[in-house]
């Protein structure tokens, strides 16, 4: 009880969200690959995969952790492309640039909405840590049931003119606004 109180106190001091390390590891592993398994209006740079991680100010450490994991998993990049991973707080989302993937960590509703509007407008691929963001227009997330699967919002992908590799459909759970399948 004492440790629980101390933990609550620490979170409240930091003002951040909690992230599962294993899930972060999975996200770090699949996020760059999802870029290569999709075709989108955004033209990838020839030699890099550019990813932007959006985070709340209190989650800076988590965002940095995620970037490190990605670079750790793919130290030489992926498919002859280097990983260029940028960290942008939601508060500076108006300064967002077009990238191949926007990784949305937890954030307040307005910030997240603004980021998703930008992504929808620029037809960018988005992946959210919180699968609930799929209902707001995020395209990818992770489904955690008996097994962990990619969670795919085909409606949002269709709106952004993004097409995925057929294999992804086989391994993914498809999200629907009427209820996931």
């Amino acid at each position: 009880m004492r440790y629980l109180l101390i933990l609550i106190m620490l979170f409240s001091i930091a003002g951040g969200y909690s992230y599962n390390d294993q899930l972060m590891q999975i996200y770090a592993k699949i996020a760059p690959r999802l870029v290569l398994m999709s075709k989108m209006p955004y033209v990838l740079p020839k030699e890099s995969i550019d990813i932007t991680i959006l985070y709340e100010k209190g989650d800076e450490r988590a965002a940095e952790n995620l970037r490190e994991k990605m670079l750790e998993i793919y130290p030489k990049g992926l498919g002859n492309r280097k990983l260029e991973i940028g960290l942008v707080p939601y508060s500076m989302s108006e300064k967002l640039k077009k990238v191949s993937l926007l990784f949305l960590l937890e954030g307040d509703a307005d910030s997240v909405k603004a980021a998703l509007d930008f992504a929808g407008k620029e037809k960018l691929l988005t992946i959210s840590y919180n699968r609930k963001l799929l209902s707001q227009g995020a395209i990818l997330s992770l489904y955690i049931g008996k097994t962990v699967k990619p969670f795919l919002n085909l409606e949002a992908a269709k709106r952004s003119d993004i097409v995925f590799d057929s294999v992804l459909f086989k391994i993914s759970k498809i999200y629907s606004s009427k209820g996931s399948q």
Partner: protein, 463 residues
């Protein structure tokens, strides 16, 4: 061998061979085709499955979603009953997932393995091995073989029935052949009758029955005609025989008549010639007799006057006497000629010696000319009753022939011998010469009319 070469045997063998060959070929082709196609489709299906599974497994492995692979492979196994085993290994060969015992089915089924690659990094993530069962294929082949066996049995039964039916269909033809072979138009061995069948056998049978009836009819007619013809030939032969005999008889009679006519003609000719000669000789004798009588009277008158004057007989008297004798001889000769050429057809009694003298008198000049001696011997007082002139002519002709033979033979001794003799029953006049005689052939034909050994100089009418 005969039986085998019959049309029926050929048809049966051909049908059986054709059906067996067709069945065998179709079955072989069908079986091999089905097996090949099935194996191909199985291979394609298995390949398709593993090609579908491998990328999914790869992505899951790349994503680190091993649990997803487990559920995915279970789903695959539940949907594909022909999967015996699945082994999923990581890059180090460790088994990440295993279903079934992969070692048990080593000798059965088909094992297909694939390497799982990470397309994004180009690295090998692991491998998957799936052993597929061939039981479905084996079951299918087994079912097919079972069907083939049953079908073959049915085929054999059908063939047996077919052969039986064909045999039955050919039976009338066989009977037909037997009857035709035994057929004899003069016997009742052919027992077939017209049939109501309208197939080829029926048509052939009816045609044969009609033909055989016609053959019988023609045979009967032929036999009847043969009998009639034989009778006619027999009759005609008899008639011909009679006619030939008659003809031969009439021919021989005709030949005799012709010969008689010829003889009569010759006789007539000879007689007419003799008559003409006789008339001529009568005129000659009449003309000669007057001067001969006058001359003889004048010599007689001279002799009487000489005797009355009493003068001695001198040489003149002797000459006159000789002239008188010659005149008498000449007068007799004229008489002989006159008598000779005078036809006389009545028998008269005459001295054979006188007859010979008259004949010889005619040939005397020829005897003297060729220096032939005439020896005349025998009884001088033989009397015969004959046709004198004809016998004189016979003697003249024989003597002339004797002269010709002696002249032709040119023999040293030239003699004609005439001999007269008389027995109790026979009076014989024989004439022989030294001319060599006649050959048997000439002797046999000597009295044939117109036969002559003198060529153009002979008439063949002398004898």
């Amino acid at each position: 061998m005969k039986r085998f070469t019959s049309i029926r045997s050929k048809v049966l063998v051909a049908v059986v061979l054709f059906i067996l060959a067709s069945f065998g070929f179709v079955e072989y082709w069908h079986t091999s085709f089905v097996k090949r196609q099935f194996l191909r489709s199985e291979e394609a299906r298995n390949t398709l499955l593993i090609e579908t599974v491998t990328p999914v497994l790869g992505v899951n492995m790349a994503f680190g979603l091993d649990g997803a692979n487990d559920s995915y492979l279970k789903s695959v196994i539940s949907k594909n009953s022909n999967i015996i085993s699945i082994v999923l290994k990581d890059v180090d060969g460790r088994r990440i997932y295993a279903y079934g015992n992969n070692d048990i089915g080593k000798n059965s089924g088909t094992l297909i393995s694939r390497t799982i690659n990470d397309d994004a990094t180009g690295t090998v993530l692991g491998s998957v091995e799936i052993r597929f069962s061939n039981s479905y294929y084996e079951e299918l082949v087994s079912r097919h073989e079972q069907f083939t066996r049953r079908f073959f049995v049915v085929m054999v039964l059908m063939l047996v029935v077919l052969i039986w039916l064909l045999n039955r269909a050919f039976l009338p033809m066989v009977n037909l052949i037997k009857n035709v072979r035994l057929f004899d138009p003069r016997k009742d061995g052919f027992n077939m009758k017209r049939t109501r069948r309208t197939d080829e056998v029926g048509v052939v049978q009816n045609a044969l029955v009609d033909m055989i009836e016609r053959i019988r009819d023609y045979t009967n007619r032929l036999d009847s005609m043969t009998d009639t013809l034989e009778l006619k030939v027999k009759e005609r032969t008899e008639q011909l025989k009679h006619k030939t005999e008659k003809l031969e008889k009439s021919n021989s009679a005709l030949a005799e008549k012709i010969n008689k006519i010829k003889e009569q003609e010759n006789l007539l000719i000879a007689q007419s010639r003799l008559a003409a000669m006789g008339e001529m000789m009568s005129m000659v004798a009449h003309q000669w007799r007057q001067p001969l009588a006058t001359t003889t009277l004048m010599i007689t008158d001279y002799n009487i006057k000489s005797m009355l004057s009493g003068k001695q007989k001198d040489e003149r008297d002797e000459i006159m006497q000789k002239i008188s004798d010659i005149m008498i001889y000449l007068s007799d000769t004229v008489d002989d000629f006159q008598t000779y050429f005078k036809p006389e057809n009545k028998l008269e009694k005459a001295n054979l010696n006188e007859i010979v003298r008259r004949g010889v008198n005619f040939i005397k000049p020829r005897l003297e000319r060729f220096g032939i001696e005439l020896v005349y011997t025998g009884d001088k007082n033989v009397w015969v009753e004959t046709y004198v002139n004809e016998l004189v002519q016979v003697i003249i002709n024989i003597c002339n022939n004797a002269i010709d033979a002696i002249v032709e033979a040119e023999s040293g001794k030239k003699t004609i011998t005439i001999e007269i003799s008389e027995d109790k029953d026979c009076k014989k006049l024989s004439i022989s010469d030294t001319g060599g005689g006649m050959s048997k052939e000439v002797m046999d034909r000597a009295f044939e009319p117109y036969f002559s050994t003198k060529g153009k100089n002979g008439t063949g009418l002398g004898f």
